[in-house]
């Protein structure tokens, strides 16, 4: 039974890989199946791991103590009124609450968790107290931040000193993009390694082992 599952997974992997040769019905079948299974899995997980333990069970076991859960439940269900032509504007109320909450969270999160700490981390000592390598690192950091900021400063024409600094900024950006691209290659290759490892060790070797046991 385990081997059957491995064969199905391997067949679907090969269906997806077949796109590298050219588009074909096997690829489209595997792609559609993946989309459908993912959606089914998602609905199942949401129902089993969130809606049941956090809504249904508390209401069923202690309605008087948990009646307030009906409020978020109704706000959620109200989102679906958009499919009723005469009442579709009701959904906007739920959406407004949803958007309002996440705008509030994100605003604080971006400022408190990104902008301020990142600004603070660029305030570094330009002295030998950080050691020679530390000083070099700090100089590169400050030069990079300032030159890239100037590159994105469009109120001044990029000529003379501003132009030169913005060109340095482009070099820093290119180095950043290069590092990102290198990591992207590594990530994609890792996924290929994972799948080929599965095909070789689980499918090919697993099938040979199973045949060996049978014979």
């Amino acid at each position: 039974m385990n081997l059957l599952g491995i064969w199905i997974a391997s067949f679907l992997t090969l269906c997806i890989f077949s796109f590298l040769y050219k588009d074909n019905p096997f690829f489209r079948f595997a792609e559609s199946l993946f989309a459908g299974v993912s959606l089914g899995y998602y609905i199942g997980q949401e129902a089993d791991q969130t809606i049941r333990p956090n809504l249904i069970e508390p209401l069923r076991t202690n309605f008087a103590g948990n009646w307030d859960l009906l409020i978020p439940a109704l706000i959620g269900v109200n989102l679906y009124t958009r499919y009723i032509p005469k009442a579709n504007w009701w959904a906007r109320w739920s959406l407004a609450i949803y958007v309002g909450y996440y705008v509030g969270v994100n605003m604080v999160q971006k400022l408190h968790g990104e902008v301020l700490p990142q600004m603070q981390s660029t305030v570094v000592p330009l002295s030998l107290s950080a050691g020679p390598m530390g000083l070099l690192n700090n100089l590169i950091l400050i030069a990079g931040v300032l030159s890239v900021l100037i590159y994105f400063f469009f109120s001044l024409e990029h000529k003379g000193a501003v132009g030169l600094t913005s060109r340095v900024g482009i070099w820093f950006l290119m180095l950043g993009f290069g590092a990102a691209f290198g990591y992207t290659v590594m990530g994609r290759v890792s996924l290929l390694i994972g799948r080929l490892n599965y095909l070789i060790t689980q499918w090919a070797m697993g099938t040979v082992d199973a045949l060996g046991r049978l014979l």
Partner: protein
């Protein structure tokens, strides 16, 4: 210069085939390239190494099957490290498409080598919860309210380990194995608001942006892609030789094994880039000559 035209017109499917062969050969015939350890991985290792049996680490499985070849080895390695140190572990997932299944599978793989680790006492599995940032923030107030039951349907008040774990204050570290933005939220929302140390094991694609959080001190460690995972595996094997048996088991996919293929393919890609540039510039020079 006929070779130049042929090189420029090369069907890219030949490159795909070469990459496939270059990946498959080291899997069949492992080479065993040396793995060097970088400071971000060592920092996470040292952080867990300093913990004791009363300390609790939260492991958040924020990835799905689409990035399992990168995230699985790092999750397994960190879990093996925690269980070797007898550090208590709380697992959960905030990633909807497969996160909780990844946690289940990682736990199953690692528990094979730790038969004396007990559910509910040495580790607890909270399962998956939707709500992302809202869930993470609420966990800072009361985990028992967010997760009324654990993955196995047991009330949290009945799980011995969770009786003393109610908020982030009761934990020493959060490690998120992340494929997308959820890892960032641990750093820029939970670390910023609740000051719990955060480390992230991320996919290689998203690694560059995490270095900014590491540099600013919002994260205490980083495992970037398969390379980061292989570094952590190396650290755990070197410190706990008993774990080595698990990593040499036939058929088990590990990051150290994967790095053999990774190194070969990177060399191959570098050669392709050099060849393509030579062909491009030679072709441009020839076109300029023809013009004159």
């Amino acid at each position: 210069m006929d070779w130049l035209n042929r090189l420029m017109a090369l069907d890219r499917r030949w490159i795909f085939l070469l990459v496939a062969i270059g990946t498959a050969l080291p899997i069949i015939f492992p080479i065993g390239f040396k793995v060097s350890v970088t400071p971000p991985a060592k920092a996470l290792f040292d952080r867990i190494e300093q913990m004791g049996p009363d300390d609790v680490v939260l492991l958040s499985f924020d990835y799905g099957p689409s990035t399992a070849p990168e995230n699985d080895p790092m999750a397994d390695a960190v879990l093996r490290h925690c269980f070797s140190k007898r550090v208590k572990v709380v697992l959960l997932s905030l990633f909807p498409i497969g996160g909780v299944t990844m946690a289940d599978q990682s736990l199953a793989r690692v528990l094979r080598d730790f038969p004396d680790i007990r559910r509910g006492i040495d580790y607890a599995h909270l399962g998956y919860k939707s709500g992302s940032q809202a869930t993470m923030k609420q966990m800072g107030e009361d985990i028992h309210r967010v997760f009324p039951t654990d993955r196995y349907g047991m009330a949290l008040s009945e799980v011995p380990l969770l009786q003393r774990v109610r908020t982030y204050d009761d934990m020493k570290l959060v490690v998120s194995f992340a494929t997308g933005i959820i890892g960032e939220w641990w750093a820029n929302l939970i670390n910023a608001q609740f000051h719990i140390p955060v480390a992230v094991g991320c996919t290689a694609v998203s690694a560059p942006k995490y270095y900014a959080y590491l540099q600013s001190g919002q994260m205490v460690g980083l495992l970037g892609g398969l390379k980061g995972a292989s570094e952590y595996e190396r650290l755990v094997i070197d410190r706990y030789p008993i774990v080595e048996a698990a990593y040499t088991r036939a058929g088990l996919y590990t990051a150290i094994k994967g790095m053999d293929a990774q190194t070969i393919i990177h060399t191959l890609i570098l050669l392709f880039i050099i060849m393509a540039n030579v062909a491009f510039f030679a072709g441009r020079g020839r076109a300029a000559q023809a013009k004159r």
